[in-house]
Point group: D2
Chain length 496, copies 4
């Protein structure tokens, strides 16, 4: 059985230490092993990154960008292979994997523009014959720690930007679906990236803690669940590192009575059930304003959900695939049970889906629950499964209050035709990414991704302009040249 | 005896609790008392700020700026009074206090331009008929904690920017010289600032810890010593707040053999001894490259130091004043003693200055020490007094290595005529603020202030563009309007 | 009788040459004379500006800004006097003059932020050890030529920005109401502006042509009618100068059937009749979509117009004042006549207003005309008077086509509640300044003012960020320092 | 014999009208014919561009960028073929053609970042609940007219940026070497560009004048000689179009006595003789400050020039090739003759080069002339050949005055080690592109290219950020949503 190793200083490496099972979630069977890096292995990766830093930071920006352009081209050429690797280990349907990859590639495209986004600010005559300017210099070695749900995209949110800014990188991806991540990193080397600039270590808490405590690591980017995000952030900052740690979510859509209901339902189907709801931007709660809107929503959702197909990754007619692990499947079913027990109405029940030939896969079908209330466990926590819960509110203010009171503030959406409602919502909602008739308002690569409240710890967001500031350190130079005689000609006999 | 209180919700307030002595450092006598806020008092200030927030954040930007313009004008009209208050409690000579105040006013001037710096990014057609834009929304209640050495300037680095961005503020200034800070805040109210937007609480650790733990406080800006900065940063971030914490410094000037030596000496005199060296940007170490340069430097410094006058604040012929406390005076003298004991040469000795009529003041005279080496205590620690230490290096690389190896990385300077030396220095030195023939390279108000290494904890710097990002939270809106019939005219009978 | 002269090199000056009458438009009587500068006088002003340039461009940005701050304060302190001067010669009601002045002051406020907006772009490592940056350097002598309708505001759109950027200026204001313009320029001198930086010459075509042909003038800003704008632009550019020339307008409001009609009518009253319609942003055409909307609009406008009061400037209860000249009055009445003759319906007729005690003033009352069609002269031309014409369209597309077919493209507005309609409108309308439920969408001072089509000749707009680019010239420096031995230490014996 | 046609609406097209000879400049023989477009053919191209505009401007930015990425890749894949086409018709040596192409590709790379550079400015709360933002919308049909000396690069300065901004394009390249230009445009189609977005018409004055007078053309970019540039600019602007017209140059290098002379000479060799001096950034004048510097420069230049090889394009050992035409060759020789006649010293004489096997080619060898003075014809005019003239100045001020007095202000350079001299030079020289020890300071693709004085007519420069403003028109939207009842819930019965 294959053991997936690390990429350190340009070399694939397995340290023959601990390993962990990697599953095929559609069959429920173990398909590979992944090496779990020891402290020493991680330190070796850090050392490689540290050694590669001086040359990389001094490489002219255009030369760094040239490698980015090649990296993008290689990812496009290898897209099918990457999507297959994602499907095998994550279970995501191929078209969904392709979408994920495309979003990742778009960050590389943005990273190709380093010449533009690394520009500093230059001020003439801040004093008599005194000029001053600010440069944005790279930090050094930067680490990234990423989750299972987007094994291609989330790492690509981080390291292309960090590396384009002149840093070197150590990535610890999820140990549940590590193959696509590693393969992509190898393509970066193939694109001409010098050895040591990009390193990948697979591992668990030992690897993470090594990264968090090593003095050479200057900054840590993390995406995962909120509890871990908080641990990462607190530990990294206490160790003098920069940190941005993105956590969980509970994304609400408000459905206003004036919404184009067919459009809203179409959007909700994909946003709630796509990728089995294992997305930090999945819409998991719909708040219908007024019973008319709620009733219409429920009826149309039932119709829309009927033809949805759950199944294995490589069948492109499938709408979504299995959950990542047996434990995930059980957690999701458990939340449906608890909602039902707490008095909610399970309108469409996905607890026992039929997936012929994949009876042991980690599947849960699309589930719709009505009459959910804020005190239910299924509402308070992130389910991270294909479950859409509906809450009925009497007014838009009440609906917004629900969102503002929730622990998370990642994404949200309003369905309305009304300019005033949309503006009031986007202005006052305590959420970082807001959609107006757009259910998954993931910012494009030239903006930045980040939630509010306990969905993000840190000042600066992922990718886009914020990531440039996160991965660089401002240096301000103030310069005055005292007269030297050269200009005045007194030093003409100066020996050259 | 006067007791200096707090400013909460527009009202001056003393809670009749604990107080602490405020000294006149030139005479060594207690001149006033300052109230030390209890937890409840601080919470009242936070509550006032919280209550003032919604209206303030919704006030059009131009109206907020109008108050800033008036605040600036009031500070200029009251400059003499402010400088006198600073002189009485801090001991800083009036021209130096005026300089400090001017630097603070310049931040207000920058804050007048909120219309420009709060602009978000707008993108058309990120998808078919989909637009997206990012807004920079205020955080809510923000706290500032500031040191004794710039009672006017450092608070003004913070709250004008925070408030211009739409936040409300609670400031805890230094309890050693609180009067000018409080007076300035009152002028802000006089300029038309709504009550509660700006609050001042005097206090000690109890006040600080209340600010660090209260959930309503969204962010903390701090300037002080490195140990406290680290505590503030770790505590604030562990409590889910943004934090920028600026700490200590040990700023080196490299004197190259090709420097204009007269110019270098002139600059060093002010940079080392101005404000008794109680500046985080003071130059406290000169590294001379080559013995010729070192010898020339020492000789010219001796000449330049001879006429320097130390004395009380209000005599404008004085060059610098007393230290802030008896303890400070003793610490500085202690470091000179230790340098001498460790083998350094005290070339000019300020340990026993004569200040007629102020025999009990906390004075130390300008001191020059040669042959300092990196392992001496006086080199490793921040002295924060009127002491310039000289180290002799053989090469520019050796001089730079000293700087890069030091714990701090706030400011630095090189004296040279040579373009290549200047560029190599500014590129490779591990320091945030770099001067080329400029001894105190404090960035102007439209750049940002911040050091590297243990001189600053956090991602974003004080004032200027960085402070805008620190005091705002990015929100990205993605918008699509589904067809509604209004444009197409099918709803013409729509009841208006 | 007073003769209004020029301001050249800090001195008020009358060259005893030709003069022209200045009227009080409320009484119809001549109140003053204005000097008309000869070619020699204009050249003297240009020479003064040229001489003042080198010192002004080298003054540190902060010092230049300090003068701007004082200038703003002086304008606020002298606001009543300025508004009275405007009222006497232009006839504008005092509250309207105050509004104009405020808009002008806001440009000065923006100009106070020169430190921020003059920042150039700095790029590290564009090649091996090669840095490059762009500076925005001032042009030299810049000229402005401004119209009668905003004697305070439009000049302030230009010269504060030009001067903040480091240029010196020669202004030729309208000869019909020159006093407030000249007085404001004198306040700039009082604020500390060095002589020669700002010069004012009153005059006519001789002055204009001198400015357009003098080689020392680097750029020309113009606001006036389209024919003159085109002449100015063509002549200035043929003479190698930069030019931005803003011309006429015919601003349409689309009133959609779903509009909040009461709100729309309230907005239209001020936008159509304020300042007698003598504004390039006045709404002079309302396009109602559907007869229901049109009928409702007409009825509500009649009610809203009934209490409008026309009269002299100093009575603050008046809504608007006289037109600027007898010829203007006749032109406006002529257009009403022609519309009537062409078949339009004069619903409210202002051709013979009663203004007790001012029977010879140049007054026209608020006029509403229904059933206007595109081929009428009154539609094709700019009326520049208190006349609102209503066109009835069947669809939004038809309404937009009218606007896009018109020669002018300055401002426009849509009244609707519908997000989709607003977005379609703002995206596709061929107009530079677009309001959504905002009738006079004059950009704030930190954006830029400019129309499309024949409303503006030139690439860059007035005030705001565009004006910075207009009033500066990009210079790009690329720098590499070859090794010199200083850094390497081989030149240690270099004689200092 | 091949006839080179046009590319209109995606189709190659020859209209069987007038043609003109295309030469092989190395042999002096006619190698091809180029079609000269009639007015009708040009209008067809404009019509195609006009028709393609609406769909192209509405295509999401990311989709437009995707085509840019593919275009870049295709240019790299076809680089050899392109360089061969350039060599055959222009005579440029293959490595020089490759350099030109690379610079052009870099503009495409910048154009890939349209998401970033097209961002507008968004302002919240410019008034109570009023937001305002500026968009940069494309203009429509844009034309480019380009010179023979960079048949690949200069067109690529223009149309990738124009098209990335959402415009459509008609290019009229030089009729002397049209093949590479046309081939590159065909690759753009191959990359997926919709037909009509990019069109190429070959032609002469008839084509140019058609572009300048057609109302559908919104803007014209031109690079060529100054007289034509002035004609283009005056005509285009008089016809209401935007125009940027780049003209001739006379680029001076100041050689200071403290310069690293070996380095200076190495740089000058390439900058003066590369591409036979047929570059608008070629250094054609060296001003040596002091006779010591002048004598050293002349001696070292003689040594450096000895091994230079002139010859045909495909031999990569050659340093430069023939001039473009017989007339060019005669013009250059004529200027050398005139300099000699006027008293200058021809130190190295390239008037009769030996190029075996290419006796009829349009070759001139590298030529060095000493003792040139400002009144000579060879100094006043642009030679555009492989001739370096040396002027001797006594001071840096005198050297700078020469540059500032010259008609042109494109590029310049100073060779010095001295920070003060470099800063004084870059600050005060009246030239748009300044090198400090960099002989050809062509700005990188993320800055902008443009000279001062009669080297450029227009406000905005080529490529980089300036080109974004040139190829877009600002539109400012101001938006307020009046309450509609939807938010408040009064419209709950609204029929959806």
């Amino acid at each position: 059985m294959t053991t997936i190793g690390h990429l350190i200083n340009g070399e694939t490496y397995t340290d023959n230490g601990r390993t962990q099972d990697v599953f095929n979630p559609a069959t429920g069977e173990v398909s590979k092993q992944v090496a779990l890096a020891s402290k020493e292995t991680v330190e070796e990766a850090i050392a490689a990154a540290q050694a590669a830093f001086p040359a990389w930071r001094n490489m002219p920006v255009g030369k760094r960008s040239a490698i980015m352009f090649k990296f993008k081209a290689l990812l496009e050429a290898n897209a099918d292979k990457i999507c297959e690797l994602i499907g095998d280990e994550h279970g995501k349907i191929c078209h969904d994997a392709a979408g994920e990859l495309q979003r990742g590639i778009e960050v590389i495209e943005y990273a190709c523009g380093a010449g533009e986004f690394l520009k500093g600010e230059h001020s003439k005559n801040v004093g008599p014959n005194i000029d001053s300017w600010s440069e944005f210099q790279p930090l050094g070695v930067v680490a990234g720690i990423t989750p299972f749900n987007f094994p291609a995209m989330v790492p690509l949110w981080m390291y292309p930007m960090a590396i384009a800014c002149g840093n070197t990188f150590v990535l610890k991806p999820s140990e549940r679906d590590p193959s696509s991540t590693l393969f992509i990193a190898q393509l970066f080397k193939e694109a001409g990236l010098p050895d040591g600039v990009m390193n990948v270590v697979n591992g668990d808490k030992e690897a993470v803690d090594t990264l968090l405590h090593d003095k050479r690591v200057q900054a840590v980017s993390f995406v995962g669940s909120t509890d871990i995000a908080e641990y990462i952030y607190t530990t990294a900052t206490a160790n003098g590192k920069r940190c941005q740690a993105l956590g969980g979510a509970k994304n609400h859509a408000i459905v206003m009575p004036d919404a184009d209901m067919d459009n809203a339902v179409n959007q909700l189907l994909g946003a709630a059930f796509g990728s089995s709801g294992e997305r930090c931007m999945a819409l998991s709660v719909a708040v219908a304003v007024g019973d008319n809107a709620a009733d219409a929503l429920i009826e149309k959702m039932k119709v829309g959900m009927a033809p949805l197909k759950v199944g294995e990754a490589k069948v492109k007619e499938n709408d979504f695939g299995p959950l990542i692990t047996r434990e995930s499947q059980e957690r999701v079913v458990g939340y449906i049970d608890s909602a039902e027990k707490d008095g909610a109405t399970v309108v469409v029940d996905g607890r026992k889906p039929t997936v012929d030939g994949f009876e042991n896969g980690f599947f849960v079908g699309a589930t719709l629950i009505d009459n959910v209330t804020p005190e239910m466990d299924s509402y308070k926590n992130e389910i991270f499964g294909p479950v859409l819960q509906v809450i009925r509110a009497e007014t838009m203010e009440e609906a917004m209050q629900l969102i503002n009171d929730h622990e998370y503030g990642n994404g949200t959406c309003i369905f309305t035709r009304d300019g005033a409602a949309a503006r009031y919502f986007s202005d006052n909602i305590q959420v970082g990414m807001v959609g107006i008739n757009v259910p998954l308002p993931v910012p494009v690569s030239y903006h930045s991704f980040g939630g509010w409240k306990r969905s993000l710890f840190g000042d600066l967001y992922a990718y886009g302009p914020d990531s440039v500031r996160f991965y660089t350190r401002r240096k301000t130079i103030t310069q005055r040249w005292p007269s030297t005689g050269v200009k005045e000609g007194v030093s003409f006999s100066f020996p050259s």
